[in-house]
């Protein structure tokens, strides 16, 4: 788990996570990127604020929860903070397991929980220069809610 202003390189992160490992049969990655539009409005840039200390503990907690639910060989969350522009990477989730299903499910779970629990806040700057805090989306709460049912243990 890392919180950083710098960009990340997906291939390098996969290589580091899997180096020397012959027990990993599946790697799933999710990369969240900044779009140039949101809710029908053009967006020129964005600032990501977070709660240092709590962010790290929430990301560690959600990663531990994923490790407890699925047989993961490794996982990684990288989340950027600070000033971002359209096309920039925002967040990376990598999950690795013996078989694909655990890695697919855990990656979705990590993103859904991160979006509703990790203390990050986006402030967008519109094409007209006006800044506005992004509202939370009910669909993100619904996506996280589906994980409340007991998880299936699969290989």
């Amino acid at each position: 788990m890392r919180v950083q202003t710098a960009d990340f390189e997906v291939g390098a992160e996969i290589a580091a996570l899997t180096a020397g490992r012959s027990d990993i049969g599946a790697v799933v990655t999710f990369t969240g990127r900044m779009r140039a539009d949101n809710a029908g409005q053009l967006v020129a840039g964005m600032t990501l604020e977070h709660y240092p200390g709590m962010t790290e503990s929430e990301l560690e907690r959600v990663e531990a929860e994923a490790q407890a639910r699925w047989p993961l060989q490794a996982s990684l969350i990288v989340h950027r903070v600070g000033a971002l522009k359209p096309g920039d990477n925002i967040v990376l989730v990598v999950t690795a397991s013996r078989h694909r299903q655990a890695a697919f499910s855990a990656a979705e779970f990590l993103m859904d929980y991160l979006k509703t629990k990790a203390p990050f806040w986006k402030k967008e700057i519109g094409a007209d220069g006006r800044a506005a805090w992004v509202d939370a989306r009910p669909s993100d709460d619904e996506a996280a809610g589906r994980w409340r049912r007991p998880p299936a243990r699969e290989g």
Binding site: M54, H79, A118, W121, V134
Partner: protein, 85 residues
């Protein structure tokens, strides 16, 4: 009880400060009671905490619902619903 209060995103902008140390009067026992007290601390606080139903809180860096006890807390944070990812 002396606690450190932290504010993030538009709660920080509306209160005009990122953090402060406050001496809470006796009798404030929950997050909801603390919000109600903060609403009385000036116009900027009244505005920041006006939509108290959308404000989220964390006690010592753990999410806390409105009814959570603040007894023994050293750091309490207030912020809008999170929008990372």
């Amino acid at each position: 009880m002396r606690v450190k209060l932290l504010y993030f995103a538009w709660v920080r902008e509306k209160t005009g400060k990122a953090e402060e140390h406050v001496d809470l009067p006796a009798g404030i026992k929950t997050v909801a009671e603390l919000i109600a007290w903060l609403q009385q601390q000036g116009p900027e606080y009244a505005e920041a905490f006006r939509r108290s139903e959308v404000i989220r809180a964390a006690i010592d860096r753990t999410h806390a619902p409105p009814g959570a006890s603040i007894a023994g807390a050293s750091e309490i944070a207030f912020f809008p619903p999170v929008t990372g990812g």
